[in-house]
Amino acid sequence: MNVVEMRGITKRFGSFTANEDIHLVVKKGEIHALLGENGAGKSTLMNILFGLYQPDEGEIYIHEKKVQISGPTMANELGIGMVHQHFMLVQPFTVTENIILGVEEKSSGFVQYEKARNKVQKLSEQYGLKIDADAVIEDISVGMQQRVEILKTLYRGAEILIFDEPTAVLTPQEIDELIVIMRNLIREGKTIIFISHKLKEIMAACNRVTVIRRGKIAKTVEVSETDEKKLAALMVGREVSFEMEKKEQKKGSIALEVKDLLVKGFHGKMAVDHLSLDIHKGEIVGLAGVDGNGQSELIEAITGLKKIEQGSIFLNEVDITKFKTRKIIETGVGHIPEDRHKRGLILDFTVSENMILSTYYKTPFATTWGINYTEVEKYTDRLISEFDVRTPSIDTPIRALSGGNQQKAIIAREVDRDPDLLIAAQPTRGLDVGAIEFIHRRIMEQRDKGKAVLLVSLELNEILKLSDRVAIIYEGKIQGWVDPKIVSEEELGLLMTGSKQAGGDAI
């Protein structure tokens, strides 16, 4: 049976068409993936199904009956629930309070908290959500908050669940857990629409996949009859290469040398604990590790953003241990930060203002007191065309760009300075395959030019694909080195959790 059928859906925002003549059929009991690049129109389509937007054209059938979904309340009544990209939880409230918000059962004016709490607990067990009904939202992890959102829809009796890019905020382990939960939901008779632009998860978890490209349906296929390459081509509209031409390495002398580094984390514990590391010219060193094992602190220490307790850092034989951030940048360090919104960009600045963030005071941009904006514009024009940053204009606030284009802007800024050491932290997080391919090529180019690159990523395949050597970081120490050509993702995973020691044979 078709639980959802959308026929000829068109949605315009002003003169822009976000969805054009879209046909989507979702069958009962399946996990149906909606795949597409950022901005393809996936969220828009699902917001229509959830009643947040009204389509300009087209019809919707639920359980093969024509409906007009006037709003989320009506969607709820039809058994449709949605977990949005951005959670909608009240931080200081408990899980149960959040779940019953708006649908409180009352008896003589009092909320029946105990009853609701039991129901929440029961639902959590039924679907393996492992939620503590009394936990306060601000104390629980992002992954757990997402499960609370899922439970919220179940509590309201949802039969059709829409997950909008649920994995974008999750760690690899949490993603695996989510897939298990989705299977549980299907077993209990639910139907899931799963939005993502990550091919691997779709291949692992879904039955069928509908690809949307620039607001139109490219195709609906059975997952068992396709592969990542075909899906990527459908999504981007051209062939995408996953393999990277890796040129012969021209390894030079040591560029970065970190010796016996000690950096404090929160609670005074050592986040980086007597860590030593070196990177040669013309080499990409991948730093693999479970999030929170000292990666961020190491990067912040190298870039002068965090105090170094002990140890030293040399860049091309210059001792930069005591340098301030600006001096470190000037010595030749480029930094693609892990959190692009917190560190990497000033969202309210224009694209061109963001391009000179660490060079505004230098020629040719600076005059005695002022900034020569003609030069800044010339420079920005060059960078956005060279790095394919898609923006309506260079005077657009960078906030308005998609994540992929924001990231390309950062990469343009950092790579164009041609730093001796490029630190790339989570350089492709949340991006789609087209952008990932581009960014990988740029990082590889730096290596081929004889520069040193430190790549920090939670995506193991990214580390294995790009790196010449891989260091495993665990509890602030380098646990060992492996050769990416011979180590498998599974083996790396074990090393990262500290449950296995690397051979010790440093390579």
Binding site: S43, N47, M88, R343, A366, T396
Partner: protein, 353 residues
């Protein structure tokens, strides 16, 4: 759509301001009705007595000029992500210092005034230095320190007047004409109103404010720190240094407000038993003007008209001046509640409702 976001932001700020003003005026009208006054008569009296006669126009402009300075001072700090609620104290210190230079130093006409103005500005900056430094280096909240600094300034000024500058009286003598900002021909143009060079200096400050923030390296840094200090830090911009600089510049502007008022309008210092509330007005002006130079000028003008016209409204229509303070407060309330934002969102789809 995307390429018009900037314009949209600007438009939405403008829309917010205009709607807030209208709603503020309506709130005032309702209050007048409840109290048994005719709002139409009252507002007509207000407007008529603020701008129709050359004299009144001159006085309105005089009322406006310190508001421009103070509005700019608050806006500059806001732009760096700081709340300078200490403008009132910096204003007092600015006017005190300007008085001292005017009364205790003798210099040729013109130069005397200029030196006194600059000294007032510098005093304001010095007064702002402490909250700035504490904020930058110790993380102490600038609002707490600034409020304390306001009280110190107020009573310090009173003590000086009582024990040194005007022993046995409530106010000092007038400053010598060499230091005055008044110009006979300008006054005559406005039928003898107390309009003075302060307005020229204020408009000059508006231009400098714009140039500084959007055309210089310093302005780039200040705005970067204000929008996102983590990113500024990442790029090697010193957050501490810019916090201190922002406070100094803001204090300088507030000091100029005090100095020009003293040298142009009052020309003497009196003992004050309470704050005159110009700090509050400055915050209002900056908020309503969306921290933009032209916005500050326009909203200062509006508050100038309301303040001066409101005073006359008392005599012409018999409506108490307090109503005008309510209108002020209501306007700020609506600006702070971002009235147009709500309105706009209701019509567009609410994606994240």
């Amino acid at each position: 759509m995307k390429n018009t976001t900037l314009k949209q932001n600007r438009n939405s700020a403008l829309l917010t301001s205009i709607l807030s003003i209208l709603l503020g005026i309506i709130v005032g009208a309702i209050l007048m009705l409840l109290a048994g006054y005719n709002p139409l008569v009252a507002y007509q009296a207000l407007l008529g007595s603020a701008i129709l006669q050359p004299f009144d126009l001159g006085e309105t402009i005089r009322t406006t000029s310190p508001l421009i300075f103070i509005g700019l001072a608050v806006a500059l700090a806001f732009r760096t992500g700081l709340f300078n609620i200490g403008v009132e104290g910096q204003y007092i210190v600015g006017s005190l210092t300007a008085y001292l230079v005017a009364a205790k130093v003798s210099l040729p006409t013109g130069i005397h005034a200029l030196v006194a103005v600059v000294a007032g500005g510098l005093a304001g900056a010095a007064w702002a230095a402490l909250p700035g430094l504490l904020k930058a280096f110790r993380g102490v909240h600038e609002v707490i320190i600034s409020i304390m600094m306001n009280f110190i300034a107020l009573y310090f000024s009173n003590v000086l007047v009582r024990t040194w500058l005007a022993v046995g009286k409530d106010s000092t003598d007038k400053i010598p004409p060499t230091a005055s900002l008044r110009i006979g021909s300008l006054s005559q143009l406005f039928a003898g109103a107390r309009i003075h060079m302060g307005i020229i200096l204020a408009l000059l400050a508006v231009f400098v404010f714009y140039y500084l923030l959007w055309k210089t390296k310093l302005g780039y840094q200040l705005r970067a720190v204000g929008y996102n200090r983590h990113a500024a830090e990442y790029a090697g911009i010193s957050v501490r240094r810019n916090i201190v600089l922002s406070f100094l510049l803001s204090g300088f502007l507030a000091g100029l407000a005090g100095a020009t008022e003293l040298l142009g309008t009052s020309e003497y210092i009196a003992i004050q038993d309470a704050f005159i509330g110009i700090g509050f007005d400055g915050i209002a002006v900056a908020l309503l003007g969306a921290n933009a130079p032209v916005g500050v000028v326009l909203s200062a003008l509006l508050f100038g008209v309301l303040t001066y016209g409101g005073g006359n409204m008392q005599f012409v229509a018999g409506v108490p001046f307090e109503i005008i303070r309510v209108v002020f407060a209501a306007i700020i309330f609506f600006v702070a509640a971002k009235i147009s934002f709500r309105w706009g969102n209701r019509k567009k789809g609410k994606a994240y409702a």
